[in-house]
């Protein structure tokens, strides 16, 4: 039972008068009979057990985001159709190409009872930009030139130039732009704020045991009328995904953040459970190093891209839980998503062999290790990939297993030939295409460079009209696939599984979680 660390909020201390459910019993979350927990949601985060900070500006890990979303709001949020809609802002408008204006909702209260104003918005964004604060989310606001507080409830955000991703970067997603209270942060300091966060969200922190669980209690002054309906949320951190499923089946939790792909088909048969799923905001691809043989040759890259069957991969690796990718942008970014199979990303053994014949490596090639990690489906991707390519082209691709951390470090330093990779949760097309494939993109560790794609990425960042913007990214992806810049494999489904009695959870494709606690009721 790790860490009874004193954060100023003693664990299991009840702050609000109406929040008695958590402390009323000495039994831990899993030992309470389900009937007595009517006012408690037990929402397990599966597959992760580390939360280092709950400061939105500093957060970076998925479980941190899951909890931050419950305790904070951002200016805007995504609705069920992935459209950006007001949240702490009552409305927003584009004043000119470089200026977004937000009218703030009046009377919004932080957990400490103070009122949220335009000054807090300004503080939040300027804090992210501060070099000394060193936020991993700094990039989200790097184009912001100025935050103007016109009056306490009107804020203008001015960018250096037209910057289309900004609105998505101001949502309550993995952005770090959730609004924090200036007074509290300045009073207790950044590190302490990460341990005793104060937000505007439907739930506030009441307990936290390192690597084990987080406990939240309802924020009575939450600005959405009638929410939240449950007094307490217990969030156990369950290291293994499969243990999350076991805990759900055993009645120890009500909701889990994810499930192993292989379990999904059987879970769908279980009448006592509900499962929601959709293709997530991710793309799993084989990254190739353009600076080293053999992937320095475009013909070889194309040959490999056509030498494996993405549909088969979805079946074998994901048990059907996903869609094959013919570009990097996932289906949920509908305006920019292109479902059409592109020529170079379709399995075609004859053409693959013809491309190989044109390449520098037609006459043979030694072993080519493809990096992966773990023992799970990440490893399976590379196994299936290497097997198929070797069968089609007669190459000697091998599977090299490292740790994820090491694989990423090796990609960054260029010490690899091929490697599996995939981003989860980016919400703007620029994060999938511009940042990964443009010459100066900070996620482009591969040495890929094409001036035409760079120009399109630049256009995409500046285009505010969604339809036009989407068309730009489709063109950029045409180029990327033609060059076989990376080899997209598939977009995998995200899953939430819950007891049948859990109502009001709307799943969003970036794998939201905590932001839904407010609307959950238990029938």
């Amino acid at each position: 039972m790790p860490s009874k660390h004193e954060t100023g909020i003693h664990r299991r201390v009840v702050l609000g008068a109406g929040v008695a459910a958590a402390a009323g019993t000495a039994l831990p979350w899993f030992a309470r009979p389900a009937t007595a927990a009517a006012g408690t949601l037990r929402a397990g985060i599966a597959g992760y057990n580390v939360i280092n900070t709950l400061d939105p500006g500093k957060h970076s890990l998925i479980p941190e985001a899951y909890v931050v979303w419950a305790m904070f709001n951002a200016l805007v949020k995504f609705n069920g159709k992935m459209e950006v809609v007001p949240d702490l802002a009552e409305s927003f408008a584009t004043k000119d190409a470089n200026t977004l204006e937000f009218k703030l909702r009046p009377g919004v209260k932080f957990h400490d009872g103070s009122e949220m104003t335009g000054d807090d918005v300004k503080f939040t964004i300027e804090r992210l930009q501060d070099e000394k604060y060193a936020s991993p989310n700094k990039g989200k606001v790097s184009e912001v030139k100025e935050v103007r507080v016109v009056d306490p409830l009107t804020v203008q955000i001015v960018t250096n130039k037209a910057f289309a991703p900004l609105l998505a970067f101001l949502t309550n997603a993995r952005t770090g732009t959730q609004i924090v209270p200036r007074k509290v942060v300045q009073a207790i300091g950044d590190d302490a704020f990460g341990k005793q966060p104060v937000g505007t969200g439907a739930y506030k922190l009441t307990g936290w045991k390192a690597n084990e669980s987080v406990t939240l209690a309802a924020h009575d002054a939450y600005f959405v009328k009638g929410q939240p309906s449950l007094a307490t949320v217990e969030i156990p951190l369950i290291a293994e995904e499969s243990s999350g499923v076991t805990a759900l089946k055993g009645g120890q939790i009500d909701l889990t953040s994810t499930a192993p792909f292989a379990d999904v088909p059987t879970l769908e048969q279980d009448k006592s459970l509900k499962i929601v799923k959709q293709p997530g905001m991710n793309c799993r691809f084989i990254a190739v190093n353009h600076r080293k043989p053999p992937f320095d040759d475009v013909h070889f890259r194309r040959a490999v891209s056509m030498a494996f069957d993405r549909n088969a991969m979805v079946k074998v690796v994901l048990f059907g839980e996903g869609v094959p990718s013919h570009g990097l942008i996932p289906p949920s970014l509908a305006y920019a998503y292109d479902a059409k199979p592109r020529e170079i990303s379709v399995f075609n053994p004859e053409r693959a062999k013809a491309e190989l014949a044109q390449s520098k490596y037609a006459t043979g090639l030694g072993e080519v290790p493809i990096l992966t990690w773990g023992s799970s489906w990440w490893k399976r991707i590379v196994e299936v990939f290497a097997l198929q390519v070797n069968q089609t082209l007669g190459t000697k691709f091998t599977v090299e297993v490292n740790e994820a951390n090491t694989v990423f470090a090796r990609q960054k330093s260029g010490d690899f030939q091929g490697s599996v990779w995939g981003w989860l949760g980016p919400v703007d097309p620029d994060e999938y295409v511009g940042e990964v494939l443009s010459t100066k993109g900070w996620r482009n560790f591969y040495g890929y460079s094409n001036p035409k794609l760079d120009a399109l990425a630049e256009l995409g960042r500046a285009e505010l009209d969604l339809a036009k913007r989407g068309a730009i990214y489709k063109q950029a992806e045409d180029i990327a696939i033609e060059d076989a810049a990376v080899l997209p494999c598939f977009c995998s489904n995200i899953h939430n599984i819950m007891a049948a009695k859990v109502q009001g959870f709307t799943q969003l494709p970036y794998s939201n979680f905590g932001d839904q606690f407010a609307s959950i009721t238990m029938g």
């Binding site: 039972m1 790790p2 039994l27 030992a31 000394k132 076991t246 805990a247 951390n405």
Partner: protein
């Protein structure tokens, strides 16, 4: 006699302290030699280079290898394990260990208790009924216990006792610090899963040891005096046969500290093993080092205790 014993214990303790120090430095060197970066573990892949650089500066990761080690050893000398880097950012490691050590010790003792109970019964019965049906059954069960993977047994126990009959929670463990009764209840399945292979090893050990002792000359001599079989067994055979048995139990302590991570994971037990494995994967150097020191300390302490108990059982060993 007393100064001799004191010298013996004192010498063992000094040796233990040196072993801990050398062991910790060895682990530190190996950890640092492995690729990977704590900044990536804590900041995630989305972190920009500036944030990574700031993190390194703050935690002295930009300093040379030996000066980092010196900083850590300096803290250790003051009894300060430092702060966790990446798995419980900013929380004192001593707090993490203080929370987890009781859990590990409790589950370990729980499992040993179950294993000892089972093995005493099984081993004794098998030895007394050597070659008969009961012996065959006990020996076969022991072979089964040794060959069953512990994670598989864990899942079987969960399916039967938690998901099937709903007698125990399928997941989750209460620390004995919070409630001993709850700890005994929620810890039963994992303790049983850990105990099963141990019980098998212990039982086989005890059976062999009993049979071997029973054929010793002094036992034959005791019988020839006309002592009752029960008296001979209790005073001549059993007591002497316990020495190798206890040594084997002592050896299992290492396994209980670090080897039960899979079971900890399956049942959601926040033990020392999981702490160390998580810390190693996330490159939380100070936490791994602290765990190493605690592990080595406990293993050495247990060895000393087992030796002392053996000396008590067999005074000839003290010389």
């Amino acid at each position: 006699m007393f100064p001799k014993a004191a010298l013996y214990v004192g010498g063992r303790l000094i040796g233990a302290a040196i072993t801990v120090l050398v062991g910790a430095i060895a682990v530190y060197v190996v950890m640092k030699a492995a690729p990977g970066d704590p900044a990536l573990a804590v900041l995630g892949e989305n972190a920009r280079p500036e944030a990574v650089a700031a993190f390194r500066l703050k935690h002295h990761l930009d300093q040379p290898f030996w000066s980092q080690l010196a900083i850590w050893l300096g803290g250790l000398a003051r009894g300060d394990f430092g702060l966790s880097l990446t798995i419980a950012g900013g929380i004192p490691i001593s707090e993490l260990i203080a929370a987890r050590l009781p859990v590990t010790v409790f589950v370990g003792l729980y499992a040993v208790a179950i294993a000892v109970l089972i093995s005493l019964a099984m081993g004794t019965v098998a030895a007394l009924r050597r070659g008969r049906a009961l012996d065959t059954i006990a020996t076969s069960v022991a072979v089964l216990g040794i060959s069953m993977p512990d994670f598989w047994l864990s899942y079987m126990l969960v399916f039967a006792f938690a998901l099937g009959w709903r007698l125990f929670p399928a997941y989750g463990f209460t620390s004995p610090v919070d409630s001993v009764a709850q700890a005994i209840y929620s810890g039963f399945l994992p303790a049983l899963a850990i105990a099963a292979p141990m019980a098998a090893v212990f039982a086989r050990m005890l059976r062999t040891s009993l049979l071997e002792t029973a054929s010793r000359e002094y036992v034959v001599a005791a019988r020839s005096f006309g002592f009752s079989p029960g008296f001979v067994f209790r005073h001549y055979v059993f007591r002497n046969a316990l020495i190798p048995y206890l040594t084997i139990i002592g050896l299992q302590i290492r396994y209980l500290l670090g080897g039960v991570v899979v079971i900890e994971r399956i049942f959601g037990i926040q033990g020392m093993g999981s702490l160390m494995v998580d810390a190693a994967f996330a490159r939380d150097y100070p936490t791994v080092l602290a765990c190493t020191v605690v592990f080595l300390g406990i293993v050495l302490l247990v060895n000393v205790v087992v030796d002392l108990v053996c000396v008590a059982l067999d005074p000839r060993r003290s010389t």
